[in-house]
């Protein structure tokens, strides 16, 4: 059965979702990622959704679940590359995905992951998931 490939980059895992996912595939990804995080003791997970033309409540919940589960396994998740139309729609749908950190692209996402854990500056508020 088709699966979404998970790549290992140092102590981070990278997932690039290229297809229009059906629910089963999304659930499979959730399971696969959780297993791989545990198996590799990964510290970071990068999910690239720049190719997704749509994120509905199911996929949104899946992203939130992945973030929560990886945190339990002591890894940070960053979702990168959400398209403007998708972001606008997701907000209109009522999902703001609290608890999911985000970045513009893979490069920025990696920067975020490799930065020191405590990145709160002196200003009121910093990029936080």
């Amino acid at each position: 059965m088709e699966r979404i490939p998970i790549l290992k980059l140092g102590d981070c895992l990278l997932v690039s979702i290229q297809v229009d996912m059906h629910d089963r595939l999304a659930m499979q990804l959730q399971d696969d990622l959780t297993s791989r995080i545990a198996a590799t003791a990964a510290r970071g997970v990068l999910i690239d959704i720049s190719a997704l033309e749509m994120v509905d409540s199911f996929i949104g919940r899946m992203l939130g679940n992945i973030a929560a589960m990886s945190r339990v396994l002591d890894a940070e998740t960053v979702v990168v590359g959400m398209r403007p139309a998708v972001a606008i729609t997701l907000v209109e749908l009522g999902m703001s995905l609290p608890g999911v950190r985000t970045a513009l692209n893979i490069e920025r996402g990696m920067d975020l992951l490799s930065a020191t854990p405590d990145i709160r500056g002196n200003d009121n508020g910093s990029p936080v998931g």
Partner: protein, 134 residues
């Protein structure tokens, strides 16, 4: 109201959901919807299609492009013969989730489209009709 095109698609499996999404996307593109509006209507369709499959025990989606004077639109009807929804008002509330996960589907789909109508009788099934105008 003039009907420009009609297509009925089955909704019984996950794969059907993907097919419906793509069909809706194609129709929206064909009607000249903006990218944001395309995304909104496809997402609304995805939510309702999921309800039909997961909560309604399967059913069908009717995709119609319609013409009302000078404006054109996409009208989608999601139908099933499933258990129906006992408390519509509750189901339409944001954040409401059943064991089957109706969740944000209904109220979200309503917010993403121009017209929304739902009819449901416990024991007889559910029908949701959404319309998005160009």
């Amino acid at each position: 109201m003039v009907l420009l095109s009609v297509e009925r698609l089955p909704l019984h499996s996950d794969e059907h959901m993907v097919i419906v999404r793509q069909a809706v996307r194609n129709l929206a593109v064909g009607l000249g919807f903006s990218l944001v509006d395309q995304t909104k209507v496809v997402t609304a369709a995805s939510e309702l299609a999921r309800n039909t499959i997961k909560h309604g025990g399967g059913g069908s989606a009717l995709l119609e492009t319609i013409n009302d004077g000078p404006r054109r639109g996409l009208r989608l009807t999601f139908e099933d013969q499933g258990p129906g929804i006992a408390d519509l008002a509750l189901a339409m509330k944001d954040g409401y989730t059943t064991a089957g996960g109706l969740g944000l589907g209904l109220s979200g789909a309503k917010r993403l489209t121009n017209e929304f109508a739902i009819a449901s009788t416990p024991g007889s099934g559910t029908r949701v009709v959404i319309t998005k105008w160009k």
